[in-house]
Each structure stands twice: as C-alpha cells, then as structure tokens.
C-alpha cells in the first residue's frame, strides 16, 4: 500500500487515505480517521510510513474493539437469539453456523423457521437442523412469523433446550411493514420468555457498501441489536462499512462468516480484522 520505511509527506498520506476508500470505509469515516492521522503528522508524533500504518491500525482497532463480543448467558435457559438482516445476507446459513457452534459444546438447540414467506426457506433451515442434530419448529407457508416464534418459545421451555435461534425472512430496512413485522416477532418473544431475545444479531454481508450503515441504523431502531455478524469475509471484500457502522451505532461485531459450511464461523477478533484490512 505505502512503501515501507519512507519519510511521510502529504502525498503519501493522501495515498493512505485513498486506500481506506477501497476497503469500503466511507468518506465520512475516512475523513474523521485521517484528521487524526494528519494531526499526528503535524505534531510530528508519526514521521514514517510504518508509523503512519501503526497509528492508523491502532485508531481502527480502537473503533472495532469491544468488551461485549461474547454471547450473553441468561439467568436461566434457554438463551434466545433473534436473527435479522437484509435479503441474501446469510442469515439462515449463519444460524446453521451458530447451531453447530453450540452443538460442538454439547448444547441442546432448537431452531425456529420464522421465514414463512420465501420459497423453500423452511426446507433450507430444516436440512440444516437435520444435519446438525437440532430440533426445529415450523408452520405452513404463509403463517404469521410471530406465531412460529410464539410456538418455538413454548417448545424451547417444554423441551428444556439450551439455545433457541429464530430465523426471519430477509427484508429491506426500507420496507416499513416488514420492519413492523420484525418488531412484532420481538415483542411476542419478549412476552413469552422473560428477558428474551437475549441476543439480537444483525447479519451483514461484507460485500455491502455504504448502504450497510442505513441497514444497521434502521434495524437498530426496530430491534435492540446486541451484535453484528459479518458474513462472506472469505471473499475479497474487506467489510470496511462495518467501521462506519461502529462509529454511529454502538453494537459490537460478535462473529464473522468465512464460508458456506457450518464450521465457517469465527468469534470476532478486532485486531485480526484490522490487520486483514491492510493485507
């Protein structure tokens, strides 16, 4: 990106700024971050390209770090996780990954197929449940998603499961009625199980550009998000839009998706993420 060991000058700093744009870190966030870098250069606290890199990385690591990246443990089971996000972001597959994550730790998992709209959505989640040894609660196509969530909460308690994960249909934050549907699902879960959903994860596709910020803001208005799950980081997209999100929405990234199989999940590591931005 920048030649190693060179003395900094305005031109090299501009080049550094340009690189940040290519990682989907939008203009607003880039300008905030680069202001700090340029100030450090002015104050002579950074003089070489290496120092510029390290300073930039530490700023970004500061933005991305959080002490709340692990999943909460509720007072009593089940842990209820509500999953939401825009169409095709990777919700259903990420739920399979979370399911495997818990199954590997000998937890009893129940999945709720609350996407009652999209073609073969229930079939897709059912295949994952079968593969991973999880129970599944589902209803007929077109059923009220909130009623699936309702039944799943009952089943979770009756069967004494450790984790209940609720899959929802993809929806755009611009679809008011669908955002209201999501709020209803959440309300129903909260009425059925005290304190639930304990986790509400927004699934974000790392390929998304600046629209991801609007997604996080709008979904955040309808739901109290507790975490972000950044998918498709095995591609070439850097996922930099999540930095802009972290600047504006105080929700930590908890997991990343790095492939299409159930084991392609990792707990979020801010340092590794920032290092990868510059790889």
């Amino acid at each position: 990106i920048l030649p190693f060991g060179r003395d900094l000058d305005d031109e090299l700093i501009d080049e550094m700024e340009n690189y940040l744009y290519t990682a989907d870190i939008g203009p607003r966030t880039v300008q905030v971050v680069m202001e700090q870098v340029r100030q450090a250069y002015k104050d002579r606290t950074i003089k070489t390209t290496d120092e510029c890199f390290e300073h930039l990385k530490s700023i970004l690591k500061g933005v991305m770090s959080s002490d709340k990246t692990s999943l909460v443990t509720p007072q009593q089971p089940p842990l209820v996780i509500l999953v939401a996000g825009v169409n095709g972001s990777g919700k259903t597959t990420s739920i399979a990954k979370l399911c495997k994550y818990f199954r590997d730790r000998d937890k009893k998992v129940l999945l709720a197929a609350a996407d009652t709209f999209r073609a073969a959505a229930v079939e897709q989640l059912t295949i994952w449940a079968d593969r991973l040894g999880a129970d599944i609660v589902k209803k007929q196509q077109g059923a009220d998603p909130a009623s699936v969530a309702f039944d799943a909460c009952d089943a979770a308690r009756a069967r004494g499961v450790d984790v209940l994960i609720v899959d929802t249909a993809g929806r755009l934050h611009t679809q008011k009625n669908l955002m209201q549907e999501l709020e209803k699902i959440r309300r129903v879960i909260g009425k059925k199980i005290e304190g639930a959903p304990h986790e509400t994860l927004l699934i974000l596709d790392a390929n998304n550009g600046q629209n991801a910020i609007a997604q996080a803001q709008e979904f955040g208005k309808s739901l109290e998000l507790t975490g972000l799950f950044l998918t498709k980081l095995d591609g070439t997209a850097k996922g930099g839009a999540v930095i802009g999100i972290r600047h504006q929405v105080d929700v930590p990234v908890k997991f990343i998706g790095i492939g299409e199989s159930a084991e392609d999940i990792e707990e979020f590591d801010a340092d590794a993420f920032v290092e990868a931005l510059f790889a």
Partner: protein, 291 residues
C-alpha cells in the same frame, strides 16, 4: 447527496464567467466524495472525474448558462453516457432454444431472478424451462421448483449430478419439452474459487449460452469490480442484472461494473415478487447515483 454537492458546486462558480482549472478541481473534489458515498469504485471515480475534468476545461462556456450549471450538466451527461445505452434485448435464437446462463456471488438474487425472467418471457408468449444447476445449497432445487410452479413453467432438476452435465442434458431436453428458452440457475460462487469458476466455465462450454448474465446486488461496495472482472474474463458476460435496488442504495457499483466490463446493464430487480423486474434506464440510474 449530490443535490447538496451540486448546490455547493453552484456556489463555488457563482459570479464567475468561466470555468478555471482551480475551481474545477475544487468542484471535482466535492463530486468525488458524493460518488464514493454512492459506492462508486475509487479507481473508477478517479478515471471518470479525470475525464470530466478534461471535457470541462476544453469546453466553450455556453452563452446564457452559468459555468456551475454547465459543469453539473457535463457530469450528468458523462454519467448517462457511461451507464447507457438502454438495452433490454435478449439474443433470441431463430431456431432452437435460447440459453441464458445466470451467474454471480452468493445471495445476489440469481434464483429469484431466474423466476422473474421465466415470468417475463412467459408473459411475452415464450416457453421457458428453468434448470436447477445449484446442487450444493440446501433446498436450492426446491426453491427453484416452487418458483417454477408459481410461474407455471417446467423445472429440470437432477439432485447430486454435476452441474455442467445437468445443464447440457437440460438444453437437449428443452426441444422434447417444447421449450424455446432455457434459464440456467447456478450456485453462488466466489470469483476467487478456482474450482467453481472452472465449473461455471464448463457449464458455458457445454451449453453455448446466448446470454450470460452477471447477477449483481446493487448494494455492493468497492469490491464489485473485482468479481465482475473475473466473471467477465471467465464467461464473457453479455449483460448484468442489478438486484435489490429497492433498498434505496445509490447503486454506484453499477457504474463501476459498467465502466470496467463495458457490458450493458439489462434489467433491475426492485422487489422479491416475480413481477419485480424492470428494464434498466441509464438516465434514471445516473440521477440515482448522483443522489
């Protein structure tokens, strides 16, 4: 938004009788920020604005037009020119079935778009056959079958078979079935996955598609050019379908992909239902990118 940007540009040129290098450069800086916010690829932005700058410097100032307005118009026109022309054509075969291959990254909207195209062509009096060549994603075949049922067209599926063979057999079977249009739904794949890029290349080799569409999510950011370039190199795309435009995204990825591949954007997806497919209008897209 670019409306704000253009107001700033107008103010910059206010009271000036001609475009000078200095005020053009400043105005271009503001436009660059707006384009980057719209997800236009950085390198594409740079080229595009360098082009606009050259034109603006060389242009005669028109009588009765403020330099600011003239500058804004030149940006808009350059954008429309780059995004166009409007071309929703399909290279229909005169004899034998027309084959359309749908490819793209995971979750971009391929399967849904296959359903939408089948719906559109059926309403135009054609006889589409849908081909379920994604044997990897759980219930992908089922998903296409449901769409086929909703549209009222047959679906060719062979669970577990190799996608290139499935597609080849489907095209052969199309004639028997009386189908004149074969739409191949393929699995989402990464442009950096050599095996899967070879697979989709083999599908094209065995079926000689008349159209090869990249299905691209309009919300894609800077990376759009990388995948588009790879898919174009591997398949020789004939067009692009831009999906999920109903998200409100400015859709700058469309500009990047058009500039880098030169391939026409033929259709846009504006919703999940079967009738939510429209022809691409370059001027409307230019306005959208400009905010």
């Amino acid at each position: 938004s670019l409306t704000k940007t253009f107001d700033a540009v107008r103010r910059r040129f206010a009271g000036k009788s001609k475009l000078t290098e200095a005020n053009i450069n400043e105005a271009l800086g503001e436009v660059r920020t707006a384009l980057l916010e719209a997800d236009v690829n950085f390198a594409v932005c740079k080229d595009f604005l360098a082009n606009v700058r050259e034109r603006a410097l060389g242009a005669e100032v028109l009588a009765g037009v403020s330099p600011g307005d003239q500058f804004i118009k030149s940006i808009h026109d350059a954008l429309v020119e780059l995004m166009g022309p409007e071309d929703p054509s399909i290279a229909w075969k005169k004899d034998g079935p027309t084959v359309i291959l749908m490819a793209g990254l995971q979750g971009s909207g391929k399967t849904t778009t296959c359903g939408k195209l089948a719906f559109k062509f059926k309403n135009e009096g054609r006889k589409p056959l849908l081909v379920a060549a994604d044997v990897q994603r759980p219930a992908a075949i089922e998903q296409l079958k449901v769409l086929g049922e909703q549209v009222g067209v047959p679906v060719h599926a062979e669970p577990g078979a190799a996608p290139p063979d499935i597609c080849e057999r489907a095209v052969a079977k199309a004639v028997e079935l009386g189908a004149d249009t074969v739409i191949l739904d393929t699995a989402g794949r990464l442009h950096i996955d050599e095996d899967l890029m070879n697979e989709v290349s083999l599908i094209a080799e065995k079926t000689h598609p008349d159209e090869v569409f990249l299905v691209l999510d309009a919300n894609t950011g800077q990376d759009a050019v990388h995948s588009a370039e790879e898919f174009d190199k591997t398949l020789a795309l004939t067009g692009v379908v831009l999906t999920k435009l109903d998200s409100g995204t400015r859709g700058g990825a469309s500009l990047s992909v058009k500039k880098v591949t030169g391939k026409p954007i033929k259709f846009i997806g504006v919703g999940e239902k079967l009738d939510k497919l429209e022809s691409f209008h370059p001027a409307r897209m230019a306005d959208r990118i400009l905010g």
